[in-house]
Amino acid sequence: MSAAAATARQGVAELRKLPAFMRRDLLVLLSYRVAFAADLMHIAVQAILFSFIGKLVDPARLPAYGGTQATYLQFTIIGVVLTLVSALLLQRVATAVRQEQLIGTLEALLATPTAPTTIQAGSVALDLLFIPIRMGALLGVVALTFGLDLSLGGVPPALVVLVAYVPFLWGLGLTSAAAIVTFRRGTGALAAGMGIVGIVSGAFFPLSLLPSWLQGVAEANPVAIALEAIREALIGGAGWGAIGPEALVMLPASVLSLLVGVTAFRWALAREHRRGTLGLY
């Protein structure tokens, strides 16, 4: 068997392990049923809050999408949901391995013939799939409850943007995970980073309100690009033709983020292995 075939076979064998991680995490998740209700409550509170704030906002100051003038609640609720998806995924990816370290299972996992990157990917596989679905469902519930006029036809393009966006988050999370595995801390810096990204993403107000020098930065922010594309799809009903360029712009950012993240994470694990401190917390 050639080396390439052996590598491919090993890759398939590693991929086959991902469902095992997903089942494990689903079983654990089912034992913590309150978390789902907490997310629902969080979004409901945000929706109520922003529905009142929206009464103070002149809709003319908000952008129009596909000729449709957005209401403030339409505008922000998409921002709230995407920010929450980003924060949850980022936090989960960044801390998944650390969590294994803390509960004492990391060395047991590494004692199996499983690659560290599979362990990392497996530990977040369910979240990568489930958190966007869960948040999408909650967005639907809020839209129905508050009578938000979101475009059903925009849902598939919005999902494509989300699929292109998730690897970007994953890469960021892996870089954070590398820092957390190395320094045993870092969730504070992660939260601060997310806060800054949130401000320059246009989640809660249009980017046009930012100072002009910051607008340039914000427009290149992958979070802002994803957010605008999703708004265009869900509020303006933009189709594939309009969304495609944004999704394409996301791809290099996602690839770069993943490459940096995987490299940093592997380096951090190798360092811990050399130091003999992988199992320490």
């Binding site: 064998a13 086959r16 392990k17 469902p19 095992a20 991680f21 089942r23 494990r24 079983l27 654990v28 034992s31 913590y32 509960i103 004492g104 299972t105 060395e107 047991a108 996992l109 590494l110 004692a111 199996t112 013939p113 499983t114 690659a115 292995h273 050399r274 130091r275 003999g276 401190t277 992988l278 199992g279």
Partner: protein, 312 residues
């Protein structure tokens, strides 16, 4: 070809030298005890052999392959770690084992079948569906064993398996190990419990302060026993003033209170000092020695002699 081989292994953690030139070899089908007090370096050695920690110097081989980070080797290795916290507490023992079996490359159906088999092997089939956070220490240790058995390992590394088990549970774990060794598995059994080795371990390596102090059969190890500690029963008045008696002994040796018996003291003799000479000094100091016996069985005394400061 030994199934487990360590050659001149060294490992430092900062300024602390956990292992200093440790070598050992374990043949297939052998149960080899790795005996040492706390901090001797047993767990570090186990972690190097299981590929979790890199040595600073030296080499480690399993089945004639360098340990390194070889993932293939982990398919033939069973590891029973010292702690209880290596499982997912909120899911059942069965689901935990299915998960780990799948990480060893088994398909779901095969993993479920094997998990059922190993749970039965460790007599946990009745509680297999319960979340593991409700397991007792003994059950947790047997569950760790069950995980190590998933792949029918050719090498089994067991770290402090009986450390906090009651005698019945400890016996069950040792019996499991013996049956595995009988089927050809090489077993390295790290422990600090001297008393469990007789009739169990084929050979023993004594580790202290990161160094090998002895390696060989239990019989050869017992030859290192020195009758240097004696338990003396004193009259009630003398026992209460053991510190002044200790002072009276001077360079001949020392006295310590015996655990759990206020009327007894432990006499440690300096090298070359006869027991009679020490007792004579105690009698001159006004103590009535009512009885005297050697402290601990020979293998324990051998262990103490081998791991003492003087032996280093």
């Amino acid at each position: 070809m030994p199934a487990i081989e360590a050659i001149d292994l060294c490992r430092a953690f900062g300024a602390v030298e956990a292992l200093r030139g440790v070598s050992l070899a374990v043949e297939a089908g052998e149960t080899h005890a790795l005996l040492g007090p706390n901090g001797a370096g047993k767990t570090t050695l186990m972690r190097i052999l299981s590929g979790l920690v890199e040595p600073t110097a030296g080499s480690a081989y399993l089945l004639d392959q360098s340990v390194g980070r070889s993932r293939a080797l982990r398919s033939v290795l069973g590891l029973v770690p010292s702690g209880d916290r290596s499982f997912y507490l909120r899911i059942s023992g069965f689901e935990n084992l299915v998960f780990f079996a799948r990480l060893h490359g088994m398909r779901r159906a095969a993993a479920r079948r094997r998990a059922g088999e190993v749970l039965a092997a460790v007599r946990l089939e009745d509680v297999g569906r319960r979340p593991v956070n409700g397991y007792s220490h003994g059950m947790q240790k047997r569950r760790s064993f069950a995980r190590a058995l998933l792949t029918e390992p050719r090498v089994l590394l067991v770290d402090e398996a009986t450390h906090d088990l009651d005698p019945v549970a400890a016996r069950q774990v040792r019996d499991l190990t013996t049956s595995l060794a009988a089927s050809g598995t090489a077993v390295l059994w790290a422990t600090q419990r001297v008393e469990e080795l007789a009739g169990f371990a084929d050979r023993v390596t004594v580790l202290a302060r990161g160094e090998v102090r002895f390696s060989g059969s239990l019989g050869a190890m017992t030859a290192h026993a020195r009758a240097e500690r004696h338990e003396l029963r004193l009259d009630a008045r003398a026992a209460t003033r053991w510190q002044s008696l200790d002072h009276a002994l001077g360079a001949l040796g020392g006295l310590d209170p015996a655990d759990g018996d206020p009327g007894s003291v432990l006499l440690s003799l300096a090298d070359g000092v006869a027991l009679g000479a020490a007792i004579a000094v105690l009698a001159d100091a006004g103590a009535e020695v009512q009885s005297c016996r050697e402290d601990g069985p020979p293998i324990e005394r051998a262990f103490l002699a081998l791991t003492s400061e003087r032996a280093s």
